[in-house]
């Protein structure tokens, strides 16, 4: 059928099918700013303005929109002249991945059209439909307030609120002299994102593109006795179907990690056994998505359904089914007992320590499974290029690992594969995995055609990755004086059907769980087990959030039992500068025969705690008149706190490369393998180069990342990008600086090039004479003794300097319903020098919201057959803009000597403290300790009921 639309003031006539969504038709016609996030309207990524109203185009038939007036962000501005809302979004750092930014801006535009002077509450209501997994909405709201003022004609050039405290005079002096580092520079990739330009994996058009669908297991555990694909192959429009019978059996582990990937290699592309609901059975490529969907129904799979196990505490019980019983299974700790790994580490001797302790406490905590939920789900497109090389364009955090890992599965030499990472619409660890790239690769090899596979939201839940559930027991011996004497952490980690990140996540749980407090005797004892739940993997925080829920709750329980004020107790025991990280050498990723015990250098943990106590009015915790609400005896208030500590990169392992060259006009290209997944790493890397080279940030043109064009980088994970890739960029920039100094010395006739200062795009001699960079570029490229001024450098982390933080949460609880309402989150963070305080606080705000979901309302829920029941965003609840608590972030800046310009990591630490701080606040409000998250109404209510009966 034909539909007539007016889009961005242009009349258009489109052909479409009556059942097609408007989202699909708009994207087909090149309106790439309208993005897929769900099929249910729940993410709002597909929002457009239909006759001036915000409408989700994923749940609107194109035919229903016939004769309508449609606005997309493509119509908002021309060229680089931006609309005031776009301008404000850039200035406020309201963009991270930018995937849903066009939808948010349109919602803001619709609001400002009818209400030029909205309140914050009205703004939050107006954008409530666009889910944001990244910013925590704080900077979005401030940007819209600012844009509204600008559009009313008021003079504004406001920045978001930044609260920065220098830890000491050294930090103060250090940041004073910086030109672009530690400044709120605009995102270097912001323009394309704020305009909704075609920047993401799916934003390209390829002739003859085939659409793939993955057939997945309906059973939690079953053997595939046979697959009959004959009806699928006969179905018109089907081009290939692949499964265990026609794809070579090559064992691998899918976690995106450095070579050699941790064992066991317990996966193959397609197996004759399925181990969870959502596990791979077959893949189909067809001319259209609908044909592929229909053809899926024709695949005849004969299953022998086996008993299944889901709880990590049941996984090793006698009589439990063996999940990896395939004959070629190797290298698991004990596959016959479903144990993938045993991890054991200690410093000192805990047994002796417990004997010496005056008091011993032991508590067990249980943490659950949640999903990363990037608004852009997994998507990959592959095709043969003109050189007969396979190009995989994919939404990944680890393009170089993907290339190395996918090659043996496809049977191609690595050199015949190129992996391109365009912009990513969020990752949070779920894309630190080689998850679907082999499937599109196989299908392109089978058909010689371009193939696209995109997970829908349900598939993203069932068949991608998630956070490891764990059961954690702490046993701690304490002296009369309240000092830790001995601490043992016992963990059972649930790695689901495959081990992928099972070893490393659980190792990090131990590392995080035993590092924040000084204790002469520490021990970590962990079992990682297979079960039949969908596979956990990497999720921002990487084992840390699990550890901190248990550690911080446990420490608080001890403090209460000893009658010591909890903040005092933690302060008495927590680490400070100069303290050893004694468990770290025993929990590294690589065996080290000569373990070196690192010491903590920069550390403002105590300051973070004190500042937070002041700002949260910590004394209210002990004020009955604040905790009780007059006239509402069933409502209680509570205030809670947790300390946090993370790492910056994996020492001895994480490496990043950078390449910088000068252009004729004195601008520079910076090529990095580091993958900006919305974190702002392109921007801070540009700032680091700009600071060294004495140019404005916008003169650094960043490209990341493409295995053909950019240097190697392990990828965006382990809080490593600022620290590792940042140092690599700094080193490369310093080499380029040297070449510029030499060229300037030549031009100025100076014999000491090292005395030349680079500043404001000029090379300036001591006597004040200078050469502008464009002259240097032209001279070196064209005029005399021609050379390309360029340099490469790489950096491998030798240390992992920890960032620190104190997290506070204020809640209200309804004891009649068990409903907890989080009123305020405050986080005081020491992440070294923040290269860009806007992106750093943006990371912290966004991370806190994910952590809030973890502690409060997000939960993968299963029926007794292991089928996840809440595979939509809605039933799987993510905070909307109008449901948010008040958020406050304070940076306390230290100078980390080993970091680039004093920086440490900020990306993961906000995931650590929110859940235990809420638990602490619930305890404060009710006197009841809940040792299990999330704190959902029914769970809280039941705990309160139980406590009442006792």
């Amino acid at each position: 059928m034909q539909i007539h639309l007016t889009i961005n003031n242009e009349p258009k006539v489109f052909e479409c099918q009556p059942w097609e969504t408007l989202l699909r038709v708009l994207r087909r016609e090149g309106y790439y700013s309208v993005r897929y996030g769900s099929d249910t309207g729940e993410t709002g990524a597909s929002a457009i303005l239909l006759n001036g109203k915000v409408v989700n185009s994923d749940i609107l038939l194109a035919s229903q929109a016939d004769s309508s007036i449609i606005e997309t962000i493509e119509g908002l501005s021309k060229g680089i002249d931006l609309h005031p809302i776009q301008e404000a979004f850039l200035r406020h750092g309201a963009i991270q991945s930018g995937y849903s930014t066009p939808a948010t801006i349109l919602a803001a535009k619709a609001l400002l059209q009818r209400n030029p002077n909205p309140t914050e509450k009205e703004i939050r209501e107006a954008i409530a439909g666009v889910l944001d997994r990244e910013t925590g909405y704080v900077k979005i709201v401030s940007a819209i307030l600012d844009a509204a003022a600008a559009m009313r004609g008021e003079k504004t050039a406001n920045l978001p609120l930044l609260q920065i405290i220098q830890a000491d005079s050294k930090a103060n002096d250090f940041v004073q002299e910086k030109a672009v580092v530690n400044r709120p520079e605009k995102k270097v990739d912001g323009m394309k994102l704020v305009k909704g330009n075609a920047a993401f994996v799916d934003d390209i058009e390829l002739k003859g593109l085939l659409h793939a669908k993955l057939v997945t297991s309906p059973h939690a555990h079953a053997r595939i006795l046979d697959i009959d694909d004959s009806k699928v192959r006969e179905y018109p429009g089907v081009r290939a179907v692949i499964h265990y019978k026609n794809i070579p059996r090559v064992r691998y582990a899918s976690g995106g990690q450095s070579y050699p990937n941790p064992k066991p290699y317990d996966q193959v592309c397609f197996d004759n056994k399925v181990r969870y609901v959502g596990d791979r059975v077959a893949a189909i490529a067809a001319d259209t998505l609908e044909i592929a969907q229909e053809a899926m129904k024709l695949l005849v799979v004969q299953y022998e359904v086996l008993p299944a196990v889901f709880d990590e505490n049941q996984a090793c019980a006698p009589g439990v089914p063996v999940i990896h019983d395939e004959p070629d299974m190797a290298d698991a700790y004990d596959a016959s007992k479903n144990i993938s790994h045993r991890i054991h580490a200690k410093s000192g001797n805990t047994e002796i320590g417990f004997a010496q302790a005056d008091f011993v406490f032991e508590h067990t905590y249980k943490v659950h499974q949640v999903q990363q939920c990037p608004i852009e789900p997994h998507i990959a497109i592959s095709y043969w290029d003109e050189d007969e090389r396979l190009v995989i364009r994919t939404s990944t955090q680890v393009p170089f690992h993907v290339r190395r890992m996918v090659a043996p599965l496809l049977g191609l030499p690595l050199k015949r594969i190129r992996v391109i990472k365009p912009r990513i619409g969020g990752g949070f660890g779920v894309k630190q995995e080689m998850l679907i790239e082999d499937i599109v690769g196989h299908l392109t090899i089978a058909t010689r055609k371009p193939v696209r596979l995109e997970f829908n939201r349900e598939e993203e839940f069932r068949s991608s990755r998630s956070r490891h559930p764990q059961t954690i027991t702490y046993k701690t011996g304490v002296s009369k004086e309240g000092k830790l004497v001995s601490q043992k952490m016992t963990v059972i980690g649930n790695t689901g059907a495959y081990a992928t990140h099972g070893l490393t996540v659980q190792t990090v749980t131990g590392l995080r769980g035993l590092s924040t407090y000084n204790c002469p005797n520490k021990e970590f004892d962990c079992k990682v087990v297979y079960t039949n739940i969908p596979v956990p993997g990497a999720y921002r925080g990487y084992g840390g959030p699990q550890a901190f829920l248990a550690l911080e709750s446990h420490m608080e329980e001890i403090a209460h039992a000893l009658g010591i004020e909890v903040a005092e107790f933690k302060k008495k025991n927590c680490v400070k500068s100069g303290d050893p990280l004694d468990i770290a050498p025993h929990l590294g990723e690589r065996e080290d025969p000569n373990p070196f015990i690192p010491k903590i250098a920069s550390c403002a943990l105590q300051q973070c705690l004190e500042e937070g106590m002041k700002r949260s009015q910590w004394h209210r915790r002990y004020d009955e008149s604040w905790r009780n609400i007059p006239g509402k005896p069933y409502l209680k208030r509570g205030l809670g706190m947790a300390l946090c500590m993370h790492g910056s990169a994996i020492p001895g392992l994480d490496m990043g490369g950078a390449f910088i060259k000068i252009n004729d006009d004195g601008s520079f290209n910076l090529l990095v393998g580091a993958t900006d997944l919305g974190t702002g790493s392109d921007t801070i890397l540009a700032q680091i180069a700009a600071e060294v080279l004495g140019v404005p940030t916008e003169n650094i043109l960043v490209y990341s990342s493409d295995t053909d064009l950019t240097p190697f980088d392990t990828g965006a994970y382990a809080s490593s990008t600022t620290y590792v890739s940042g140092n690599a960029v700094k080193l490369a920039a310093e080499k380029v600086k040297l070449q510029i100094q030499q060229r300037a010395a030549l031009l100025l006739g100076i014999s000491h090039p090292e005395e030349i200062v680079l500043k404001e795009q000029k090379a300036i001699a001591l006597d004040g004479r200078f050469v502008p960079f464009d002259k240097i570029a032209l001279h070196s490229l064209h005029e005399y003794d021609q050379q390309q001024i360029m340099a490469t450098a790489s950096f491998v982390a030798q240390a992992s300097p920890p960032p620190f933080a104190a997290q506070f949460a204020e809640i209200e609880i309804d004891t009649q319903t068990g409903q907890v309402t989080v009123k305020k989150l405050l986080m005081v963070v020491d992440c070294g020098v923040a290269i860009n305080p806007v992106t750093a606080t943006g990371q912290i705000e966004g991370g806190m919201v994910q952590a809030l979901g973890y502690g409060h309302c997000e939960e993968m829920v299963y029926d007794d057959k292991g089928r996840m029941v809440n595979t939509e965003l809605g039933p799987y609840k993510i905070y909307q803009a109008n449901e948010m608590p008040e958020m406050e972030v304070v940076l306390i800046q230290t100078v980390e000597e080993t970091g680039p310009f004093g920086a440490k990591a900020a990306g993961e630490i906000p995931k650590d403290g929110v859940a235990p701080a809420i638990g602490s606040a619930i305890y404060n409000a009710t006197g009841v300790r809940i040792r299990e998250i999330p704190y959902t109404p029914q769970k809280v209510w039941q705990a309160l009921q139980k406590a009442e009966k006792i």
Binding site: T21, T40, G41, Q64, E125, G237, E294, Q816, Y862
Partner: protein, 287 residues
Amino acid sequence: MRNYLQDYCVVSCPSLQEALMALQGTPAPIPMAGGTDLMVYLNYRRLPAGSYLDLFNIPELKQGIQIQDNKVVFSALTTYMDVRMHPYFQNNMKLLLHAAKVVGAIGIQTRGTWAGNIINASPAADGVPALMVYDAKITLASAYNERQVLLSDFYHGYKKMDRSPQEIITKITIPIPQTKDHEYYRKVGERKAQAISKVILAGRLSLDGQKKIQSIRIVYGSVMPYTYRSNKTEELLLGNELNHKLIQEAVSLIGKELQPIDDIRSTALYRRKVAQNLLEEFLCSAL
């Protein structure tokens, strides 16, 4: 398009009469308003193959909201957003505004209709309890008939309702309350970010000078398999003096009257208990 994919067919009609005639076909096409519920299933290709009747562009159903002397009339395609934007509901029948606001995303509020919410018959529907509490009536029309049904009589089981496949809702009529009532709407769960367990209570009552209950409406969402008006407990309360003793009796009776759903995410025990607590809160707040 290849014929094997023509299983989904969407019919669009320019007038109500033609739409009603289309519904006389065999099998009758499934009517679709804003599409916010149906499209979810269509996208996942979980809807039965067949034809769908697009109502969204029928002028007779797009008459907006009319405020009359003693009633408010929603034309069938009235959306949640229409109610949010209408000045009348800022100060009158505020439970409707409240319900409109708690419906998920803004992009759904602009397309989702009250009538569609009724026909989708989700036990967790946000809009239905608010309508029911105001004694809303729905007008159902077919090609040959038109009738009115009290919304609280419309459901009789999970997704079971008093509607023939040939009928669509053409309007919703809500009498304007003639007394200054005490009103209550609370959703435990979704609002403030918790979808895990939901209980909705919408309530309305008026007292005379002697604190005797003159009128009472108690409607639950998410507790029973359909939006439920608790007649028995209303009966107990009506005409009696509102005091703590009566409230306790009502709380106890509602515990027996409700047969809550028991699912993976929320137990019947919890639902019943919270339903009781909410009723207590509602009644106490009127004391």
